[in-house]
């Protein structure tokens, strides 16, 4: 594999990893607060549909992003209602929301546009334009490192940079703020948080709002950045890959970046069958598709270090009387 090919693959890695990263961080907030969320997929799907519809109708991509965040937070709140307020089964609620999203998105898109559940193709201001980083032309001249900056890092839509920025921000929020301390505590030992006079319910709902926001951005990126418009089932399992990445990352923001980049790289590699065959390797596409899931199972098996999920994850909090 020559250097330009590697650069091209790394470039698409960053693009493909962005929705995974946003969704993975979304799941991180929810799960760190003790609410297991397998409804990432459904929230992304709703967000992708909402942003595709609104961006097309208004011609403004930011209106689309707003709608995406709204739709995603709405779903997050249903999850909260079921799993926090009514102390229902968080896993079942997530599964239900994924089904709901699969149905609702097509119903709405079909009712509005009659194009088989798609939204019309977005163009102009209804899509994100790419951003050229400063000194892109000058740095390009630097050997080896130049293309890394100019071709891989530069030239993406703003949501890619938002996603990258969300990693240090999440780390800072989680480990350097009072909110983060309480968030982690409520996922590990909600009784202690309750004893300290902080509302467990409030903390968890707060975390779910952030989850909704980030899933909204992930979905919006799918239909306005990565692709031009919404298509049925366009998330195609990315919500579950993000969940896998979250486990792979052991619920840690920096490792989430690494895990999603790895899974993004695998997806980028699957799009370039010529590369592996040049190495004399005949790897079936299906194998590359399955690799993130296989890796996650290996991690779950505890072969490479034991995963340590938040202790109170999945259990509704019941105040003792």
């Amino acid at each position: 594999m020559d250097y330009p090919t590697l650069i091209a693959i790394l470039d698409s890695t960053l693009r493909l990893a962005t929705p995974l990263l946003l969704a993975c961080l979304a799941g991180l907030y929810s799960e760190r607060s003790g609410v297991v969320d397998i409804g990432l997929e459904g929230k992304m799907l709703m967000a992708a549909m909402a942003s595709g519809v609104v961006a097309y109708l208004t011609g403004n991509v930011w209106a689309g992003v707003g709608a995406a965040i709204g739709a995603s937070i709405l779903f997050s709140m249903i999850h909260g209602l079921a799993s926090i307020t009514f102390r229902g089964n968080q896993l079942i609620s997530g599964v239900a929301l994924n089904f709901l999203a699969s149905g609702l998105t097509v119903l709405i898109a079909q009712a509005l546009f009659h194009q088989g559940g798609r939204t019309p193709a977005l163009s102009g201001n209804a899509r994100f334009s790419t951003i050229t980083l400063p000194f892109e032309a000058e740095i390009r001249q630097v050997p080896i490192l130049g293309p890394l900056y100019s071709d891989v890092l530069s030239g993406h839509s703003i949501l890619v940079y938002v996603a990258l920025l969300a990693v240090p921000v999440t780390w800072w929020v989680l480990y350097r703020t009072r909110f983060g301390l309480r968030l982690r505590a409520v996922g590990e030992n909600p009784e202690s948080v309750d004893t300290a006079g902080i509302s467990v319910v409030g903390m968890r709902y707060g975390a779910l709002v952030i989850t909704g926001l980030l899933c909204g951005l992930a979905g919006a990126y799918m239909s306005t950045g990565l692709q031009a418009g919404f298509g049925r089932e366009m998330i195609a399992g990315r919500g579950y890959i993000a969940l896998a990445a979250l486990i792979f990352a052991n619920w840690h923001p920096w490792r989430a970046l690494g895990a999603t980049m790895l899974f993004g790289f695998l997806q980028a590699l699957a799009l370039r069958p010529d590369v592996l065959s040049n190495f004399g390797l005949s790897v079936p596409d299906a194998f590359l598709d399955a690799l993130p899931y296989v890796l996650t199972v290996i991690v779950l098996a505890g072969v490479v270090g034991k995963p340590t999920p938040p202790k109170a994850g999945g259990q509704p909090y019941v105040k003792e009387r």
Binding site: I38, I78, L81, A82, S83, F86, R87, G88, N89, Q90, L91, I92, S93, V95, A96, L97, N98, F99, L100, A101, S102, G103, L104, V106, L107, I108, Q110, A111, G117, R232, G237, Y240, L243, A244, I247, P284, A286, F287, D289, A290, Y293, V294, T296, V297, L300, A301, G302, P309
Partner: protein, 361 residues
């Protein structure tokens, strides 16, 4: 909070859940400019208005009974098996390998062999998540989701490169020999006058009913069933009673996977007569809704599977004859799972006051 009477918990809560789901769906139909009354009448007409409709409704019912039972058995051991979809696809592989291995002379020989193949492959696909859950504490929900995707990739690979006969374009196995063809309702004496040759409902329907009885016997009339239920209710108490955690998790998941795999005698052997990609078509996920709606009891599963069979066939007809997209089925499915599985406490709260008032008098 006061406990509801048992009958209310078993009958009223699921009924109210389905009414709520139907009401919300009706509102959605109105919002997208459809006519809910027309939708319901098309669904009834299409699913139950003719022998043809019944033939499809009962065909879907058969698949959903198997996956519903699969989720039920695991649920009693407090394992949430979301992997029925992948297990059913692997079961299809088992059926295909058995059916293609020999020039079967008669279905009565092919069916038991195919059932063994389906059950073994389905159980094998559940075995690794089960073992990891029992021994390494890996969360069964996550591993079974992962195995659904791995199953999809595996079958994609096998159907494109290994099992596809030379010269065939679409990724599927060769057609099964005619000796492995199951009798449909049209071929069954007594029913042949009612059903036309085109209906897909086949003899697997009766296998599914037998499976319901077998699961009931297993769970409520055997030592193993008692151990499964005891473990599911209270892990620690079961441990003190000398019930092995590993044994219960692994065996209940193997049975669950086998039941999910058995579904493929209906769709792969009975209908398609060859193995196609994505053969389970979401039936594994519907099993979750069926089990929750059926309150994890074989009789409930049978009734809920019939309800979803009706929704599936009716929804298909609705998608064909009205402007309402077929995806309304997914919406209904999601709402039923949400209300019966996650918001059941809310439904209980809704009806508790009525029972309290009655007692006060």
């Amino acid at each position: 909070m006061k406990k509801l009477p048992l009958w209310a918990d078993l009958v009223l809560v699921p009924l109210i859940s389905i009414v709520l789901a139907a009401l919300i769906s009706a509102l959605v139909i109105l919002a997208i400019g459809g006519d809910p009354v027309e939708a319901v009448s098309v669904m009834f007409e299409g699913a139950l208005g003719s022998p043809y409709g019944w033939g499809y409704t009962l065909y879907y019912t058969t698949s959903f009974i198997f996956t519903g039972l699969a989720v039920t058995v695991a649920y009693h051991a407090s394992q949430f098996n979301i992997g029925a979809e992948g297990q059913a696809q692997l079961g299809g592989l088992g059926v295909a390998l058995v059916c293609l291995a020999l020039p079967w002379p008669h279905w009565a020989l092919a069916l038991p062999a195919a059932m063994v193949g389906a059950a073994l492959f389905g159980a094998a696909w559940a075995a690794i998540p089960a073992w990891l859950a029992a021994k390494r504490g890996s969360h069964i929900v996550i591993t079974t989701i992962m195995f659904n995707y791995i199953a999809y990739s595996l079958l994609q690979y096998l159907l494109v490169t290994v099992l596809r006969p030379a010269g065939q374009m679409d990724p599927a196995t060769a057609r099964f020999p005619s000796g492995a063809s199951l009798p449909t309702f049209h071929d069954i004496p007594g029913l042949s006058g009612i059903f036309s040759p085109s209906v897909p409902a086949n003899i697997s329907f009766f296998v599914a009913i037998i499976a319901c009885v077998a699961v009931w016997v297993l769970l409520w009339k055997t030592r193993l069933g008692y151990q499964i239920r005891a473990f599911g209710k209270n892990e620690q108490a079961a441990d003190y009673a000398g019930i092995s955690r590993t044994k219960v998790i692994v065996i209940s998941m193997l049975i669950s996977g086998a039941l999910a795999g058995l579904m493929s005698i209906n769709n792969v052997m009975g209908e398609a007569e060859r193995l196609l990609q994505n053969s389970a078509e979401g039936a594994g996920f519907i099993g979750i809704a069926v089990a929750l709606m059926g309150r994890n009891h074989p009789l409930g599963v049978f009734l809920a599977a019939f309800l979803f069979g009706f929704l599936y066939q009716g929804g298909a007809e609705m998608g064909l004859w009205t402007d309402i997209p077929i995806e309304l089925r997914l919406l209904l499915q999601g709402l039923v799972v949400l209300f019966t599985g996650a918001l059941d406490e809310m439904v209980r709260m809704m009806i508790t006051p009525f029972f309290r008032r009655k007692e006060a008098r």
